[in-house]
């Protein structure tokens, strides 16, 4: 035993030293991504075999477990595997914990191998520029691009080449509880910010906390408020100039919003701030279509029936237009480049399969999520989802949220700067400066 360990470890060591000499991992060839998944403990065979054999693709998939897309995605993959039974096989690797998935994905790319199929949503330019993604341009030009709604593919294009498929669309309208608004004497959602403050005062007078806010975790919903307000003040082109006064003005509005929120908002995570809305303790909230399922399942007193959605109100004197929407790519799908033509073919075949309108319509109807794929016109939308689509279609513009246009370092700093802002440590100007210092 001892001898065995000794010999074995000598092996470990020499390999490790070799790896150490290989530099920083940035230029490693990426060829180790795929392995036979059925025999994990026993011997493993590389899938880079001569053509003629079945090509196996691994997909570390976040749409698994209890995720609302899990069932349909599984179905699509099963259908694909059946249809191409003699050529390809896609294996889903369940990745339910999103943060852990992101860490794992980045680590494997940093170590030189991107997964066969994967999704991502952050700092897309880095992914697109990494040189580790399969170039999809040729197939797109050959007709695949017709599947997508107009302009969508630009989001996945880098240096005139398409490296990623923009798939899931995130839109984040304001959600409000009309029963609580009625208690405060309002039968519709305000159209301007002045009215919004009136509503807030009326809600407080009726003993209802107006807004759910949060600064814990990534401060997600409050970041969405900030995005909405920045756009309402500065208009859709505001992101072109990080020094735009709209950012400071929007910070002032955030301070005011936090005067109308729950006592635990500073430090609250998504489940706490969302929980207040679900429990009818707060009247107004921001989130996306994926939240509809939560409203139905976890809302108290059937509150889902009471929820309506609205674009952000007009800001007096602001450049934002009525009905302006916040929307962004919630998930890109890409394929890791292995340099193996057979594999590339399989990867593209699967991505095409995944983006066929009929399948996406089903996925959308089933999960409530929206996609960058042309609808085949037969989709049966859920009530709020249908309203979102109407509002998207009526919107004069759809602009991205603040986190999507900001580098990851700014996104990281946002919850910290926001809590400093609402606790009075930062002035609105200091808030903006502290974010910009991370650029």
């Amino acid at each position: 035993m001892k001898k065995f360990i000794g010999i074995f470890l000598t092996g470990v060591l020499s390999v490790s030293l070799l790896a150490g000499c290989g530099g920083k991992g940035a230029e490693k060839p990426s060829g180790e991504a795929g392995k036979d998944g059925d025999t994990p403990v026993a011997e493993q065979t590389d899938t880079e075999q001569p053509s003629g054999d079945k090509v196996t693709l691994k997909w570390p998939c976040i749409w698994s477990g209890t995720d609302s897309k899990a069932d349909v995605i599984r179905e699509i993959v099963d259908d694909f595997n059946e249809e191409y039974a003699d050529k390809y096989e896609v294996i889903i690797e369940e990745n339910t914990d999103y943060q852990a998935y992101r860490d794992g994905l980045r680590t494997s790319i940093s170590a030189g191998s991107a997964p066969d199929i994967f999704t991502f949503d952050d700092d897309f330019e880095l992914y697109l520029a990494s040189g580790r993604l399969v170039d999809l341009t040729e197939r797109m030009d050959a007709g695949w691009s017709d599947n997508f709604i107009e302009g969508a593919l630009e989001e996945g294009t880098f240096e005139d080449k398409v490296f990623a498929v923009p798939y899931e669309m995130g839109v984040t309208p304001i959600m409000y509880n009309k029963r609580l608004l009625a208690e405060a004497g309002w039968d519709s959602f305000p159209e301007t910010f002045d009215e919004l403050w009136e509503l807030a005062d009326d809600l407080v007078a009726a003993g209802i906390t107006p807004f759910s806010q949060m600064t814990g975790e990534n401060a997600w919903t409050s970041m969405l408020w900030y995005s909405q307000i920045v756009l309402a003040i500065g208009g859709p082109d505001v992101y072109d100039n990080p020094e735009d006064p709209a950012f400071v003005e929007a910070a002032e509005v955030m301070q005011k919003l936090f005067e109308y929120t729950t006592g635990d908002a500073v430090g609250a995570g998504a489940s706490v701030s969302g929980g207040h809305f679900l429990a009818e303790e707060t009247a107004i909230f921001i989130n996306g279509p994926w939240y509809i399922g939560r409203l139905q399942e976890d809302g108290q007193n059937d509150m889902y029936e009471q929820v309506e959605i609205s674009p952000v109100p007009l800001f007096e004197g602001g450049k934002g237009e009525k009905g302006g929407y916040v929307g962004f790519v919630q998930a890109y799908i890409a394929a890791g480049d292995t340099g193996d033509p057979a594999k590339t073919e399989a990867q593209i075949a699967f991505l095409e399969y995944l983006t066929e309108p009929a399948r996406v319509s089903k996925l959308s109807a089933h999960s409530g999520a929206l996609f960058y794929i042309q609808s085949d016109g037969e989709a049966d939308y859920e009530r709020l989802q249908g309203q979102m689509i109407e509002q998207i279609e009526a919107a004069p513009y759809i602009q991205k949220s603040f986190n999507v246009i900001s580098p990851a370092a700014v996104v990281n700093e946002f919850p910290q700067a926001l809590s400093s802002l609402v606790l009075g440590e930062f002035t609105p100007q200091e808030f903006v400066d502290s974010l910009n210092s991370k650029r």
């Binding site: 470990v12 991992g25 994990p40 403990v41 994926w290």
Partner: protein
């Protein structure tokens, strides 16, 4: 004389009250999370979010059914047992050997070695994801139990060596010397003198090593991908996803997952006690 003994009794009564107050307070403090966790695991998510400290209206045993059936946690528990037991045995064997060498002998580089091991405890493992990933994929051990066993055995080396060395150092030299006189060589002394006498330390280190393996998440997530090798911590995370967490099912999974840890802990601790009946070591 009488008076002072009265005072003495008063002091001891007060001391006793303080002692019990202290012990019971800590008892409640330590027990509360488990009770809360168990109660929470029997609520609905809506109840849990609205009032985290209330009792459920109806006890949701279905959460346990869900935790057991949906996540495939049973298989993952089995994997965790295999991986944790193997990595604990291997780790304890390797570290008691190296602890024996560094704690009982003088040789060149001994101090440096001990310092390196101690400093190893400090290394923030979160910072090592990329090099570990490279190491394990180069060895073709990604997505294998062996890979995780190797990683877990290794990451526990500094802390186990540290604990075991401390215990071995306190064994009186005379015991070993008399064994030398009896003709016992290096290996025999290790096996029949040092190992039995440092059993307490080794079992303590083993307890922690087992729990480290059982609770480790970052590398289990990074280095495995298929259900056949994944561990129980990934089963727990099965109920968290991108936009929401099914807390109550997750808690049910956690309650299920800590049962083996508690059993292992109790077994190990009884080991220590029975090991001690053979006679005191220190003095």
């Amino acid at each position: 004389m009488v008076k002072s003994s009265k005072n003495f009794r008063l002091i001891s009564v007060i001391g006793s009250i303080l002692k019990w107050f202290f012990l019971i307070f800590l008892f409640v403090y330590a027990l509360f999370p488990l009770i809360w966790l168990t109660i929470s695991s029997l609520k609905t998510n809506a109840e849990f979010m609205a009032s985290p400290f209330s009792l459920p209206e109806t006890w949701q045993w279905g959460n346990y059914v869900k935790a057991l059936t949906v996540s495939g946690i049973a298989r993952m528990m089995f994997n965790s047992v295999v991986i944790s037991v193997a990595a604990t045995l291997l780790n304890v064997l390797i570290t008691s050997m190296s602890a024996y060498a560094v704690s009982r002998f003088e040789f060149k580089g001994n101090n440096l070695l001990q310092m390196m091991f101690s400093a190893g405890v400090l290394v923030p493992l979160n910072a090592l994801m990329v090099p570990y990933f490279i190491l394990i994929t180069r060895l073709k051990l990604d997505n294998t139990m062996l890979g995780l066993i190797l990683v877990y055995t290794a990451i526990g080396i500094p802390i186990s060596t540290f604990i075991t060395t401390g215990f071995m150092r306190s064994i009186p030299r005379e015991l070993e010397e008399s064994a030398v006189i009896d003709g016992a060589n290096f290996y025999v002394r290790f096996k029949s003198v040092i190992l039995p006498l440092s059993r307490t330390g080794i079992v303590t280190a083993g307890t922690f090593q087992f729990l480290t393996c059982w609770n480790e998440f970052v590398y289990a997530n990074l280095l495995t991908s298929s259900p056949e090798v994944r561990t129980v911590q990934l089963g727990i995370r099965y109920f968290t996803n991108q936009f929401s967490t099914d807390y109550v099912s997750m808690y049910a999974a956690i309650v299920i997952s800590i049962v083996p840890s508690i059993i292992a802990y109790m077994l190990f601790q009884n080991q220590i006690i029975s090991g001690l009946t053979s006679g005191a070591v220190k003095g």
